[in-house]
Symmetry: C2
Subunit: 159 residues, 2 copies
DNA sequence: TATTGTTATACTCTATAACTATA
DNA sequence: TATAGTTATAGAGTATAACAATA
């Protein structure tokens, strides 16, 4: 076989850019969210819960692509602040049905408004239509999302 | 059409989506990179080093948005595997000029080929043009970023 | 026996502070 | 005094294993 010195350009890697940008947003989000008492992953969990409605902890873990054991601690935090509720499922008493409380929904809405400014800053170089395009591309990439096809992360409410 | 007060929705929040997708890529990249003996952040550092050429550790830390103390350990790993070299700067002997070795460049190329399949999987829902659009949008969002973050857009994997 | 949630634990990642050597 | 790099270390994030309750 011919071992041609293929020093062509490397393949298109979006991963590094994604990693970088999401790191930026996460770092800034932490500052913004700190006064509200929680961290980005709490927000992520609440967002998923709003989209999924009641869901078992394992389903939540799959959606978040987090280990189930860590979801326990995450929910402990949120439950301590009365932002979510755990109820035993009547059908299968091993399961906990996790649901957003009213307070949780309120907190989430407030946090999302606070985060809007973070994104305005991070995506300052993109105009409105470009941001919409970016959103729809990311959304499409997530289309095969593990448990619930529609339930990855839906459109946030406007503030 | 600008004469009418068109109610434009605020741009949707992409932070959660970005976080999610980058998490996916990172998790899958770890599996792919493990046989090669390193982790995603090692690859990220090598990529930045290739793009930046020789650079001080602090410049590297800023580009990676990592704490300088952690860059030390990262470089220790890479230097132990002879993938990078640290030389004292002749101009300012406090500085280390970090550079990719030939072995490092080779390893990086191999790793990138391996990662191409990860991205093909994660972005299976997007066609080539959409991936190119996504790349250019992310790239534009990073435009104010110091030097260039890791990543190149090119033809599909040639490996 | 298999599954859901939980605890305990270890391993990794990240950030803060103190030290060195240069400037 | 200030800066580049290093070390030590504590805190957060994450994963593995064992256990209780339930199916």
């Amino acid at each position: 076989m011919a071992s041609l010195p293929v020093v062509k350009q490397p393949p298109p890697r979006v991963g590094a850019l994604l990693d970088h940008l999401s790191r930026r947003i996460r770092l800034r989000s932490e500052s913004v969210l700190a006064p509200l008492g929680l961290r980005p992953r709490h927000l992520l969990a609440l967002t998923v819960l709003r989209d999924l409605g009641g869901s078992s902890q394992q389903a939540l873990a799959r959606t978040l692509e987090m280990d189930g054991t860590n979801v326990v601690g995450l929910l402990n935090d949120l439950e301590a602040d009365h932002l979510v509720e755990r109820r035993r499922s009547p059908e299968d008493r091993r399961r906990h049905v996790v649901e957003l409380t009213d307070a949780g929904a309120q907190w989430l809405a407030k946090a999302e408004c606070a985060l809007a400014s973070v994104e305005d800053e991070v995506f300052a170089e993109l105009d409105h239509d470009q941001r919409a395009t970016l959103y729809s591309l990311l959304r499409q990439a997530m289309r095969d999302c593990p448990p619930s096809p529609a339930g990855c992360i839906a459109e946030p409410p406007s503030c």
